[in-house]
């Protein structure tokens, strides 16, 4: 007995030690995932397994250009008023450029210099006293890219403030945004999240065109445009307002937005403007009340008038209150949207997949069942057919499974339903290497070679076949990973990891075990060890 143990120590080799390390590594690092413990790195379940919302959003970046032009127009007006340059007919043309006319020839040089200094990325062309201001091509591209990046950041901020666990927001391709929100429990939550993301949260303070306001009910949109006005509707009532198209200021000058309550205990949103905004707002309210006037100012959110209060005095300090007969949850979401900033361009849904938590649980149950059943079937089959050689292959197979889990845990990889299928399939394919090796060993034993020689030659004969087969499958899996989307990627990932892990377990590991056990393999018991009759063996 002592003698035998000594021989097994003697035959310890680097292969079996490497395999033992791999096995320990596999078991240790897959424990956090298997027990779903709080500590340690573990596999994230895909949205199809834990339930959640997956969306691919497109972005209308041309709207970003348009609003950029709009804010340029507002700046031009502000600069001219500030510098007391007399101008006329300032308007936007087709959302592409701004045109205006100067009345005093002496202002031309001053104007060109001022606009060049204040408005970067624009080209000014003049025709006598008529000017047109447009964006440069580079500025257009930059604005579009900026709109996407800003949308990604804004949506991320909104979701984070909403208090969700680990939402993913990422740019995909040139102009798409991927949003993944796990763990949504109810349909109402999902709807709130969708609305929160979609909200442009484009806040504008606009002055009411009091000279023509009385005619608003009969005025057409085109007629309003000819006066440099727009007609917007109230958010709650059918009432229409005639407003100056160029806003006094917009949400970009906002520093904070909070939910509060008015004297009737209705939810309102209080927001604070930055220094520049507060100054513009103060100047405007002073102008609106000049000479005993009581002009109105409309608070416009996403092109709907929230309210249009009369201004009674100059308002300094930059504090503004918006009331709009909100629900409390609505006010809460709106404040988040305003705080995290407006979307420069609206987003739209290109793809949306939502999975309820109960379906995810069902999928986990059925695919785990398939995985375990398939695994057990293969293990029983291998043992019956190959005897101890089959058992050795089974040890490698179990090692392979743990290694896949461990590697995925360490990378924090996502396990999806097709990923589960990938693991099931890997089990089928990993065992193939051992089938090839065992067949080769049997062949050599039948030819009458010794056990040691049969094992060594069996491995070297089988190696090229296994290698080439694995490499070609890896090529297919890599292409799948590079070109696939979402769930398909998961499938390719688990399969690739499985193939690589099987090289270590099924080839190196089992080889090491054979070399280690060699002194114990009785050539008279080939039936027990290799599942064949011992006829030809020496």
């Amino acid at each position: 007995m002592y003698q035998k143990r000594l021989t097994l120590v003697k035959t310890l080799n680097f292969r079996v030690i490497l395999f033992a390390f791999a096995l320990i590594f596999g078991v240790v690092f897959s424990i956090p995932s298997l027990t779903q413990s709080e500590q340690g790195k573990k596999i994230t379940l895909g949205l199809d397994l834990q339930g959640g919302l997956h969306m691919l959003l497109g972005i209308k970046s041309e709207i970003a250009i348009e609003s950029r032009i709009k804010s340029m127009a507002a700046s031009v007006k502000y600069i001219f008023d500030d510098e007391e340059i007399i101008f006329d007919d300032l308007r936007m043309v087709d959302g592409e450029k701004i045109t205006f006319e100067l009345l005093d020839k002496d202002d031309v040089i001053k104007t060109t210099a001022l606009l060049k200094k204040e408005l970067e990325g624009t080209v000014l062309s003049e025709n006598g006293l008529k000017f047109s201001l447009a964006m440069t091509d580079e500025e257009m591209v930059r604005t579009k890219q900026n709109a996407i990046q800003q949308a990604v950041d804004t949506i991320r901020n909104r979701l984070n403030e909403f208090g969700l666990a680990e939402p993913t927001v990422a740019k995909q391709g040139e102009d798409k945004i991927l949003v993944e929100v796990p763990g949504i429990k109810t349909q109402e939550d999902e709807q709130r999240i969708r609305e929160l993301i979609a909200r442009a949260a484009h806040l504008q303070l606009m002055s009411v065109d009091e000279d023509r306001a009385a005619r608003v009910s009969t005025m057409s949109a085109d007629e309003a445009k000819s006066f440099g006005d727009v007609i917007l509707q109230d958010v709650n009532t059918p009432e229409k307002y005639l407003l100056r198209a160029i806003p006094v200021l917009d949400g970009s000058m906002l520093t904070d937005a909070k939910v509060g309550f008015d004297e009737n205990n209705q939810p309102v949103i209080n927001f604070t403007l930055n220094g520049q905004g507060a100054k513009i707002f103060g100047d405007f309210t002073a102008l609106a009340t000049e000479g005993g006037k009581h002009d109105r100012m409309a608070i416009v959110l996403d092109n709907q008038v929230m309210s249009a209060p009369q201004i009674n005095e100059r308002i300094g300090g930059g504090h503004v209150q918006v009331s709009g007969r909100f629900e409390l949850s609505e006010a809460h979401d709106l404040a988040i949207a305003l705080r995290s900033g407006a979307l420069l361009a609206p987003v739209y849904v290109m793809e949306k997949r939502s999975v309820g938590p109960s379906l995810g649980a069902d999928s986990i149950r059925s695919s785990s069942l398939a995985l375990i059943l398939g695994f057990v079937l293969v293990i029983i089959f291998m043992f019956i057919y190959y005897g101890m050689a089959g058992a050795i292959a089974n040890v490698a197979l179990i090692g392979n499974l743990f290694l896949i889990l461990a590697i995925m845990s360490l990378f924090g990889a996502t396990l999806t339903l097709p990923g589960m299928a990938g693991i099931v399939l890997t089990v089928g394919m990993a065992v193939d290497a051992n089938v090839i090796i065992n067949e080769r060993i049997r062949e050599l034993l039948h030819e009458g070679k010794s056990v040691a020689k049969s094992i060594e030659d069996g491995y070297s004969n089988a190696f090229t076949a296994i290698w080439d087969a694995n490499v070609t499958t890896l090529i297919a899996a890599t292409v799948l990973y590079a070109y696939g989307t979402g769930a398909i990627k998961g499938f390719a990932l688990t399969m690739s990891i499985g193939i690589l892990a099987s090289m270590l377990t099924a080839i190196v590991g089992t080889h090491g075990i054979y070399q280690w056990l060699l002194p114990k393999i009785d050539k008279k018991k080939l039936g027990f060890w290799f599942g064949i009759k011992a006829e030809g063996a020496k």
Partner: protein
């Protein structure tokens, strides 16, 4: 236990014309089905919305259909049982670009009166995304084949590469034919299954080819037919065993894996059978038909060996300082 014990080579190549005919017939039938009946594209590729609803108890499918029909915009929507009889799937070509307006929400409202239910899944794919995914799918298939072609040419010889790729095309085409025949809905998972078949069938073919390559170098008789017979027979045991284990695994996936991966596992099931058949009966004869010559190959290999030896010699001389 031993099922396939090698005694003497099976005479396969002499019957290769018959197998060729079988494959050709299957191929033509499959192509015929693909081009006449066509694929039943699911929402992933065609765009649209899918809503999976689970009821408490048996789903009142007629009521669901009636409820859906009350809204004109859902014309052409289909309602079918999914898995058991407590779940239904509603499919419509409609999709909505607006984040606030959700087809799922609307359907939920329509179904309000049909009983106690839970909406478990809403998938919506815009038409543009669908066509993009389809292009990507075809692209990935072609790229995978190209990569394989290059690798096999490099490791074996170009005729081996062409033969293995033709066998792949054979397998994937027949699998696609079966998908059309059984009206399986083609979504992204089916694409994944087809690519898996690609990998699997290739795996099988490569292992047979590896044995043929070995046979060419060790068997004295330069007759390709008999080398192939010998090699295929030698690997028959492995081919069948691996196919059986993989088949078992895929079968459990098909039977117990749940409705969502039904199409996926069905495609794999077909793929395993066709892949096994093709690696035994189709890939090797193609090698013969392509005019692979054993003696030419041996000559080339010998030359390669000679060149390498010469190089080695030169290097040795260089290192010894004789040059």
């Amino acid at each position: 236990m031993e099922i396939f014990k090698y005694k003497k080579p099976l005479e396969l190549m002499s019957k290769s014309k018959r197998f060729g005919l079988v494959s050709l017939t299957l191929l033509i039938l499959s192509l015929g089905l693909i081009f006449t009946k066509g694929f039943n594209y699911g929402i992933d590729f065609a765009g649209g919305t899918l809503i999976q609803v689970k009821y408490e108890g048996k789903a009142p499918i007629q009521k669901v259909r009636d409820a859906i029909d009350t809204d004109k915009s859902y014309e052409g929507a289909t309602v079918t049982f999914f898995g058991g009889d407590d779940e239904v799937v509603i499919k419509t070509k409609m999709s909505s670009k607006k984040l606030g307006e959700d087809v799922g929400d609307k359907v939920r409202a329509l179904l309000k009166t049909t009983g106690d239910f839970e909406v478990r899944r809403v998938d919506m794919v815009g038409a543009k995304v669908g066509s993009e995914l389809r292009e990507q799918g075809i692209m990935s298939m072609l790229l995978a084949i190209l990569g394989i072609l290059i690798y096999v040419s490099f490791r074996f010889e170009w005729r081996f590469a062409v033969a293995s790729v033709l066998a792949l095309v054979h397998d994937v085409t027949i699998a696609m034919g079966m998908i059309v025949l059984f009206g399986i809905e083609v979504n992204l998972d089916i694409l994944a299954a087809l690519l898996t078949i690609l990998g699997y069938s290739l795996n099988d073919t490569i292992i047979v080819f590896d044995r043929i390559r070995e046979g060419i170098n060790t068997i004295k008789n330069p007759d390709l037919g008999s080398i192939i017979d010998e090699s295929v027979t030698r690997t028959l045991s492995r081919t069948t065993l691996t196919s059986l284990t993989t088949f078992f695994v895929v079968l459990t996936l098909f039977l117990f894996g749940g409705e969502i991966i039904h199409g996926f596992s069905f495609t794999l099931l077909v793929g395993v059978i066709v892949g096994t058949y093709s690696s035994i009966f189709v890939a090797s004869p193609i090698l013969m038909w392509l005019g692979f010559s054993v003696s030419d190959y041996r000559l080339k290999e010998a030359e390669k060996l000679k060149r390498e030896k010469e190089k080695e010699k030169m290097r040795a001389m260089y290192e010894n300082g004789t040059i």
